[in-house]
């Protein structure tokens, strides 16, 4: 599904990613862990098409298509979803209008008719229930005045609406209390199928108790320095990042 080969990228002339290799197959959950500044969020930015990041070398393909040549909106319509570390507040744009525009752009891309108002509202209701978000949130402007937890839940709600093939959760656990964490993780687990895949980017092992990964990769200094099964996360939690930094 997703194949990353020797990916190098820089921001403002500073090289952040120094040769990433990663392959994600349908049905898999990958966790990418690493200390601050290791390049985790930059990797998420490259995958979703943020223009601040410049790719200098390597390739990224998604179901055989060159991702790096696609603008952000096409990546989304192809099925790549990013749950933002810092979801953006958009005053004046209601969640309903925002999601209606997004869902219909996705449908248009697949040559489907736009959803009727009633079908759309039905979908909205279903997905709200699925991810257990407060009904009132969709009546408000996008993320405006939302608490940290509400913003993250809203990301998972959007994921539920768009049904991506590959979801990238960028530090989705940061700033969440244990109850919100459980809601977010439940949402992700409910959306999991044999056809879709998830990349969980996180500092801490905590989230991985709820979203159990098939593979754990440790990113350090722009490279994946260790890959193993879910037990790696526990080992990392026990030994700390110094274990990695000290050259193991």
């Amino acid at each position: 599904m997703l194949v990353i080969k020797d990916l190098h990228a820089k921001i403002n002339d500073k090289e952040i990613l120094k040769g990433i290799n990663l392959e994600v197959k349908p049905g898999e959950v990958h966790a990418i862990m690493g200390p601050n500044g290791s390049g985790k969020s930059t990797l998420a930015s490259v995958l979703t098409g943020r223009e601040l990041v410049e790719v200098t070398h390597g390739s990224v393909t998604f179901n055989g298509k060159n991702v790096l040549e696609m603008p952000a909106e096409i990546r989304s319509r192809e099925g790549i979803f990013l749950s933002f570390q810092y979801p953006v507040e958009i005053p004046g744009v209601s969640m309903v209008n925002f999601m209606k525009a997004a869902v219909n752009e996705h449908r248009k891309y697949r040559n489907l008719e736009p959803l009727s108002a009633s079908d759309f509202l039905k979908l909205l209701r279903e997905r709200k229930e699925l991810v257990e978000i407060d009904s009132a949130l969709t009546n408000r402007s996008v993320n405006e005045g939302f608490s940290g937890g509400e913003k993250k839940k809203n990301e998972i709600f959007q994921m539920a609406m768009l049904e991506p093939k590959l979801s990238i959760l960028d530090e989705t656990d940061s700033g969440l209390d244990i109850d919100a964490l459980r809601v977010v993780a439940n949402g992700v687990n409910k959306l999991k199928t044999a056809e879709n895949a998830t990349i969980v980017i996180t500092h801490y092992q905590r989230l991985l108790d709820y979203i159990v990964p098939d593979f754990v990769h440790i990113l350090y200094n722009g490279r994946i320095v260790k890959s193993a099964g879910k037990e790696l996360a526990l080992e990392l939690e026990e030994k700390g990042y110094d274990w990695i930094k000290n050259g193991n």
Binding site: E73, S76, I90, L162
Partner: protein
């Protein structure tokens, strides 16, 4: 040298007045004629405002008048039915309708409609004849003929316009809609006058729609006086939707008595050159004023809003929000003055002006002005000039929304803060729709008008 080059605009206007005084008076009402002489004297002193005038610093009014314009002193007979060429774009709205063509009230079906509850909608000329006591009390009572040459010019020339009267205690449930149409075979200067009287404890919604229907240059110089008596409530929505060769110079004066509520909403959707002056006087304690405005401009359009909110007495509130989006080489200005007089304690006055510039060439000048002479008040003002938020744009694109659509959603969200203040739901939805069309560039001509004039 031609005659126009040697005479300046002021002399030209004064001569026009003197040469046509008989026609002007004949086609109007004696109660309006009564004010002309003094007004033309004022105009003789004041002339057309220039850039040296602090209030008109950002709008070259003189250049508007450098073209030749026809002036009609009697309604032109028209050989078409307005309904055939103009369809209101707010169709589902059930309103009391008034039509004004080139500044003259159109019989629709009568020149004066009197409703069951005593509400009167009609022509200024006929209203003056029928309700002289109201005219004597309110006509030209607020307009500042002594300080603004354009207002004096209007008072000297205005012959007709719309009269709305809502008597004591009457509640006008249907909105009153006034459609101002400009249509002529030649360039035209129109000057008309509106008067809205809301007596004690009355309620009404008034919607004014301005349109240009033929591809000629138009200048409208319009004065509207509004009086809102104790406990009365008025919502006044003005929608400006004219082509690029049109100029609108509007002067709206409002006066509010005790515990009254007034909402004004000026929506400048389209127009070549627009200058709106709004003077709101809070004259009775407990009065509540809301002034909203939205301007959407592109190409070389220019929109300038000047507002003056006068807190003359204690315990009044005012809330002002003007927002604008400027595209291409458009220019604009917002000058919002709030005066809190010495005894106007416990005043609450809030003002905000936000602007979005879509190109490096678009320009806005914003000037909040707060003058406070009382010491126990709550006042704030703020002005912002910004661009489309890149972070918000990326967030929307990351959800699959294309850049153009994402920008439109952002702009629409920006404008909605003003539009959502309109209380009538069907009207609010229609205006949202028109704003949406405007932002998409689909409001490029005047609705069903067969002439592709803008």
């Amino acid at each position: 040298m031609s005659k126009t080059a040697t005479l300046n605009i002021k002399d030209e206007m004064v001569n026009l007045y003197l040469n046509n005084l008989d026609l002007i008076s004949e086609g109007s009402s004696s109660l309006m004629n009564h004010h002309r002489e003094e007004a033309i004297q004022n105009f003789r002193i004041l002339g057309i405002p220039t850039l040296k005038n602090e209030k008109y610093k950002y709008s070259k009014i003189e250049s508007v008048f450098s073209n030749e314009y026809e002036k009609y002193f009697a309604p032109k007979h028209i050989t078409f039915k307005v309904d055939d060429i103009f369809r209101c774009d707010i169709p589902e709205l059930d309103t009391h309708l008034a039509l004004v063509l080139n500044g003259f009230y159109m019989p629709n079906p009568n020149r004066l409609q009197v409703m069951e509850n005593g509400v009167v909608i009609g022509s200024m000329i006929d209203a003056a004849a029928k309700y002289p006591h109201l005219f004597e009390k309110y006509y030209n009572a607020q307009a500042e003929n002594g300080s603004d040459g354009l207002v004096a010019l209007n008072t000297a020339f205005a012959q007709d316009g719309v009269f709305i009267y809502v008597p004591k205690g009457a509640v006008c449930t249907k909105p009153i809609q006034v459609i101002n149409l400009l249509m002529a075979e030649e360039n035209l200067l129109v000057q008309y006058r509106n008067l809205i009287i809301m007596e004690e404890s009355s309620q009404a919604n008034v919607l004014i729609c301005d349109h240009s229907l033929s591809p000629k240059r138009f200048v409208s110089n319009v004065v509207t006086e509004i009086i809102v008596e104790a406990n009365a409530q008025l919502e006044f929505v003005k929608m400006q939707n004219e082509h690029n060769d049109s100029t609108q110079l509007t002067h709206t004066y409002t006066k509010q008595e005790r515990d009254s509520k007034l909402i004004t909403n000026v929506l400048s959707l389209h127009g070549g050159f627009i200058r709106n002056n709004l003077y709101m006087q809070l004259a009775g304690e407990g009065a509540d004023a809301h002034a909203y405005g939205l301007y959407l401009t592109d190409r070389t359009q220019h929109t300038d809003n000047y507002t003056f909110i006068d807190h003359a007495v204690p315990n009044c509130t005012s809330n002002e929000l003007y927002k604008g989006i400027l595209d291409e080489q458009a220019t604009g200005a917002f000058n919002g003055r709030i005066l809190v007089r010495r005894d106007a304690q416990k005043t609450q006055a809030y003002q905000s002006n936000n602007n979005l510039l879509l190109t490096p060439d678009a320009k806005i000048r914003t000037k909040p002005q707060l003058e406070i002479y009382a010491d126990d008040v709550k006042c704030s003002h703020g002005a912002t000039v910004g661009q489309i938020d890149y972070e918000a744009l990326f967030y929307m694109r990351a959800r699959g929304i294309g850049e153009r659509e994402a920008k439109l959603l952002l702009m629409f969200g920006f404008t909605h803060e003003v539009v959502k203040q309109i209380s009538i739901e069907s009207l609010r939805e229609r205006i949202d729709d028109m704003v949406n069309k405007r932002l998409r560039g689909e409001l490029s001509r005047c609705h069903s008008c067969p002439m592709n004039c803008c």
